[in-house]
């Protein structure tokens, strides 16, 4: 093939196979899984397909580790291979593996066909990798859509449940508005600077001083903020988050909460800290204001919630606000703090969502907080990870969440945004009310009578289950993989809270890769 290209004198881009290998692994995995899902055998569909997804993600992760330390452009400058990309690639792979484990026995893949479910998941991950590696406005949009569209479908995979379909549709419509806005903004940026490449944009902004006040540019920046802010659940563009998170199948909610946010922040960091770094004094204050608003809205919104998924949705809005503070300061410290918090956030959230998945299957209460009542006495293996996750999200010491918040406040104060540090802390104060409520339910409330009885497993071809929740409850051993995810990430939260240095090293490399001050 290379010969043909060379022979026909078309100048194709130099292809760095090694650099692209993680991406290729994921794409290949998606294709294979899709094909494999067509097989009739149940064993293949229910066991081989998820296993293969995990395998391809593991391979991608391994390749990313192998490539660590490389800093080069891929595909003629469309994508950038550096530690930022690789760190986030690893993050996506971990999130993906966890999601596959959580959906192993879930009703959603069964209803939507395993092959398609996992292929969509892998494709979305591939899109995320493209997004965070993007160095070019077009790649940004490409990655953005590639990650979003599979997610629209994935949200609706629990097809017999109305709220799942509703969430998918809502995500589709609102997401399209967001994508359109982003595209509009990117187009304006191109129009103002005459280039789509980040480096070229930065060059154009650096070269001409009055470009910085060009209305075309400013509108472009504004629209980009809106479009990306929508994806990252920044207020006031956050309103899709509670409904979509609550309606979607819980493993997908977990995936969205963790990976989509990481992807969105990855590209925000790249776009604003590489392309638009010269006008950081222009976009800093409005982003800070949005961050403050997000923190407040997210935290107060979570206060009255009785649905755990909705509570965690609002909480993720608030956490997005915290992470935005790291973006606002436009410094290396801020970049590192945001990346650190993204990883820590993944760990904390996956522990929490794993417990929710487990309880959804054990009780008929769905994701209501009451499903956690009495967990401390009856299921310590689920109680402790959830407790640790809640404490970490609230920012209590000895958990990774504390270190993350500390880092963010450090970056904020260092970047002369001390007031934003105060907002982070005020947000944490308010968040205590709902995180502690969850912990109180686990340890301080007696178990509901209905939660202790095991519900019989319905045969696959029987009447579909209409209520949102109990599809199977065959006891703890059958959910080993879910409990395992919960325990692993719960332990990791504590470990990272006590020895965070390895993560600090990773994040520092990523920070150096972008070359910020």
């Amino acid at each position: 093939m290379i010969d043909v290209v060379a022979a026909s004198k078309i100048a194709g881009p130099e292809i760095d196979w090694a650099g692209l290998s993680p991406l290729i692994a994921v794409f290949a995995g998606a294709l294979i899984v899709l094909m494999l899902g067509l097989m009739r055998s149940r064993a293949i569909r229910e066991i081989a397909v998820p296993s293969l997804s995990i395998a391809s993600l593991a391979v991608a992760g391994g390749l990313a580790v192998w490539q660590w330390g490389e800093r080069s452009d891929l595909l003629a400058g469309a994508l950038r291979l550096d530690e930022l990309t690789l760190l986030l690639t690893l993050l996506f792979c971990v999130a993906g593996i966890a999601t596959v484990l959580l959906s192993w026995r879930h009703v959603a893949p069964r209803e939507a066909a395993h092959g398609e479910y996992h292929a969509l998941l892998l494709t979305s991950i591939a899109g995320m990798i493209v997004l965070v590696a993007a160095q070019n406005l077009v790649s940004v949009f490409l990655g953005f859509e590639l990650l979003s569209i599979p997610l629209y479908v994935l949200c609706a995979t629990e097809m017999r449940r109305a709220s799942s379909l509703e969430s998918g549709l809502k995500y589709l419509v609102v997401g399209s508005v967001g994508s359109a806005t982003l595209l509009y903004g990117l187009a304006f940026l191109y129009g103002a600077t005459g280039a789509t490449d980040f480096a070229a944009i930065a060059g154009a902004l650096g070269a001409s001083a009055d470009l910085a006040s060009d209305p075309l540019l400013l509108t472009g920046i504004a629209l980009s903020i809106v479009g990306l802010g929508f994806k990252a659940s920044v207020a006031p563009f956050h309103q899709w988050t509670p409904d979509v998170y609550e309606g979607a199948p819980t493993p997908i909610t977990a995936f969205m909460a963790v990976a989509t946010k990481a992807a969105a922040f990855g590209i925000i960091l790249r776009l604003f800290d590489v392309a638009l770094i010269d006008v950081s004094l222009d976009w800093g204050p409005p982003l800070a204001a949005l961050a403050a608003l997000t923190i407040v809205v997210g935290n107060v919104g979570a206060l009255g919630q009785s649905s755990l998924k909705r509570l965690l949705a609002y909480s993720s809005v608030a956490q997005a606000g915290y992470m935005l503070a790291g973006v606002v300061v436009a410094s290396r410290l801020g970049l590192q703090a945001t990346l650190f918090y993204l990883v820590v956030y993944l760990v904390m959230n996956l522990a929490a969502f794993a417990v929710i998945v487990a309880r959804e299957r054990e009780t008929p209460l769905g994701d209501d907080i009451a499903s956690l009542n009495g967990l401390g006495a009856s299921r310590p293996l689920l109680a402790w990870p959830m407790t640790i996750a809640m404490l970490a999200l609230a920012g209590f010491p000895a958990t990774a969440g504390f270190i993350g918040k500390f880092y963010l406040i450090d970056a904020a104060v260092d970047g002369n945004y001390a007031w934003l540090g105060v907002f982070i802390v005020v947000g944490s104060m308010i968040s205590l009310a709902y995180y502690l409520k969850v912990i109180a339910a686990i340890w301080m409330r007696p178990a509901e009578e209905s939660s202790t009885s095991a519900v019989a497993l319905p045969p696959p071809s029987a009447e579909p289950v209409l209520s949102g929740g109990s599809d199977e409850a065959t006891g703890m051993s059958a959910q080993g993989e879910v409990v395992g995810v919960a325990v692993l990430f719960g332990a990791l939260t504590i470990v990272l809270g006590v020895v965070p240095s390895p993560l600090f090293n990773l994040v520092r490399d990523a920070g150096e890769a972008l070359g910020l001050l």
């Binding site: 809502k170 508005v177 400013l218 809106v226 006031p236 563009f237 222009d282 107060v300």
Partner: protein, 352 residues
């Protein structure tokens, strides 16, 4: 109380050793007096009122002796300990000169009154006609009432929960009491030897390390003043005893006649100068009012209502607002998104 007044007067005037000396001797004779009083009260089956006592001299000789020793020491009669300690205080006060002479006079006036009241008590309790309880005791039997009632309120005692009970111990019968009172009596007699002016300086030496830097500590009053003080003290004390004897032994009924004629003054003094009522008005009532104000009003309204309730109220209001905006309808989400977008655009175009 009045002896404490002497001690404080001494220490305030710089007569530290004298104050401490009086503290010491006062401990001896006052404790002795209290024990003796307890012995009599026991003989009276818990009755403390002097009005009901009389004539215990024959039936309680030991108690009587102790009380007399204590009384003589208290009144400041030589050679008892109280004489030396009280006199030293007044000596050093007079030595200061100036307006301290007023205190000097007041001190001796107090000594006179001390003699009067101490021996009033002794004469009324031990002299005169024996009361029924004393007569009973002369027969060899301590008085026991049928049902035990609280002498002050008349309430029937419940010995099960800690009232004194029917046991009454008098000094004449208990060896332990005799030992204690005897020791104190002895000390009350000889205690004065510690600090005889110009002769012994035990307390002075004891306090020297603490007070050697004080200007007032190393004073030596003149011999004339010492002699004058010693004689005056003796005379004043004896005069007080004599007056008490005159009023309560020689002329029975005289105290009632005096009381009749000065009814107002008597009422004022019997009610303890209405001092308790004054304290109640000035201190206790305001404190109680302050307490109920704090409990009822302040805690409820300010601390819980404003600080805690206010903060949580604001947060809850915010929460309702945010959740109310989540209508569930896409059109509103999109509308708010567009509104936010316009807001951001306007910010960038107008402000930046």
């Amino acid at each position: 109380m009045s002896q404490i007044g002497y001690m404080i007067m001494a220490v305030s005037a710089g007569a530290y050793a004298a104050g401490l000396f009086h503290l010491m001797t006062h401990a001896f004779f006052k404790a002795l007096l209290f024990m003796a009083a307890g012995s009599i009260i026991a003989a009276m089956a818990g009755q403390q009122s002097l009005d009901k006592m009389g004539g215990f001299r024959r039936s309680m000789p030991f108690t009587y002796g102790c009380m007399v020793i204590g009384g003589l020491a208290l009144a400041g009669i030589p050679p008892f300990s109280g004489f030396f300690s009280k006199d030293e205080i007044l000596l050093l006060i007079g030595d200061r000169g100036g307006w301290y002479w007023g205190l000097y006079v007041a001190g001796y006036a107090g000594a006179f009154l001390t003699g009067v009241y101490t021996f009033r008590m002794i004469f009324r309790a031990f002299w005169g006609d024996p009361v029924p309880e004393a007569l009973e005791l002369e027969q060899g039997h301590i008085h026991h009432p049928e049902t035990h009632t609280n002498p002050a309120t008349g309430e029937v005692e419940d010995t099960d929960v800690g009232f004194p009970g029917p046991e009454h111990h008098i000094a004449e019968r208990e060896t332990s009491m005799k030992l204690a009172m005897g020791t104190l009596a002895l000390l009350a007699i000889v205690g004065g030897l510690l600090q005889i002016p110009k002769v012994t300086h035990v307390i002075d030496h004891f306090l020297e390390p603490s007070f050697h830097e004080s200007a007032l500590f190393e004073r030596e009053p003149s011999g004339g003043l010492i002699g004058f003080g010693l004689i005056l003290g003796t005379v004043v004390g004896l005069a007080g005893i004599a007056l008490a004897y005159f009023v309560w032994v020689k002329n029975p009924g005289m105290s009632e006649r005096i009381r009749e004629r000065s009814r107002g003054v008597h009422t004022f003094l019997v009610n303890k100068w209405y001092f308790d009522e004054l304290i109640d008005l000035l201190v206790v009532r305001p404190a109680q009012w302050l307490g109920s104000f704090a409990q009822q009003t302040f805690e409820r309204i300010f601390v819980n209502g404003l600080l805690v309730g206010g903060a949580t109220g604001v947060v809850r209001a915010g929460s309702s607002a945010v959740r109310a905006a989540q209508t569930g309808f896409l059109r509103y989400y999109a509308a708010l998104l567009v509104a936010g977008m316009i807001g951001v655009i306007f910010y960038f175009l107008l402000v930046v």
